[in-house]
């Protein structure tokens, strides 16, 4: 099952890789002359996130996750993070 779990993994981005992907995305957006538009979008989303952050964190912690991971998925995810 270990091999199968590995075969079933999606392409994952670690936090560091996500930052690298975001930097690349920003360069792509800048090349299109849309940096200001990206900043506006992220700024608006950041403000809205600040507005809901506490309430969502409290309520999500109090509720069971609807789509729970299987044991294989959990082991695979933790193995990826440990690698």
């Amino acid at each position: 099952m270990g091999g199968m779990a590995e075969d079933m993994q999606t392409q994952t981005l670690t936090a560091v890789e996500t930052h690298e992907a975001i930097e690349q995305a920003r360069r792509d957006v800048a090349a299109q002359g849309l940096s200001g538009e990206l900043d506006k979008f992220v700024e608006a989303a950041t403000e809205d996130y600040a507005k809901v952050r506490v309430l969502f964190a409290e309520r999500e912690a109090a509720q069971p996750v609807i789509l729970a991971e299987t044991t294989d998925e959990l082991v695979a995810r933790l193995s990826r993070r440990a690698a």
């Binding site: 999606t10 994952t12 996500t18 975001i22 995305a25």
Partner: protein, 137 residues
């Protein structure tokens, strides 16, 4: 999907934009399924025969939110991620929204539990447009 089949920003919702919003989520969660982020952008900006599948910004915002919330690309925080990607997109396009955190929660949970589809979620977002302050309590 070719560029001709997706709406360019600001009408469409770009992958780069959604990826940047993921960075906003507290705890800096790992992106476990990048394909879901790409799918959300592609879905919200999809075109067919020269016309957008989702004809209004509210429908495009709802389509992105639904894909992000149900597919759960991040290891945590997907409800808030999907919600603020939608509201951020609308606000960045000059649409003024007035809504409360409780209303945001209800929308996100309605999407997650399949109570709200694209048209229903878009209608909720539209109902937040240009409300007088005080209706978002």
């Amino acid at each position: 999907m070719s560029d001709e089949e997706t709406l360019p920003w600001p009408q469409g919702i770009g992958f780069e934009f959604l990826l940047s919003v993921a960075e906003v989520v507290e705890g800096d969660p790992q992106c476990d399924d990048l394909g879901a982020v790409i799918a959300a952008a592609a879905r919200a900006s999809a075109m067919r025969m020269g016309r957008p599948i989702y004809a209004t910004p509210f429908l495009r915002a709802a389509a992105a939110a639904i894909t992000l919330i149900r597919e759960r690309p991040l290891e945590a925080g997907n409800l808030a991620y999907g919600l603020v990607a939608a509201t951020g997109y609308l606000r960045a396009n000059g649409i003024h929204l007035v809504w409360s955190p409780d209303e945001g929660w209800d929308l996100a949970k309605g999407i997650e539990t399949y109570t709200l589809g694209v048209t229903e979620a878009a209608a909720v977002l539209k109902s937040w447009e240009d409300r007088p302050r005080g209706e978002d309590a």
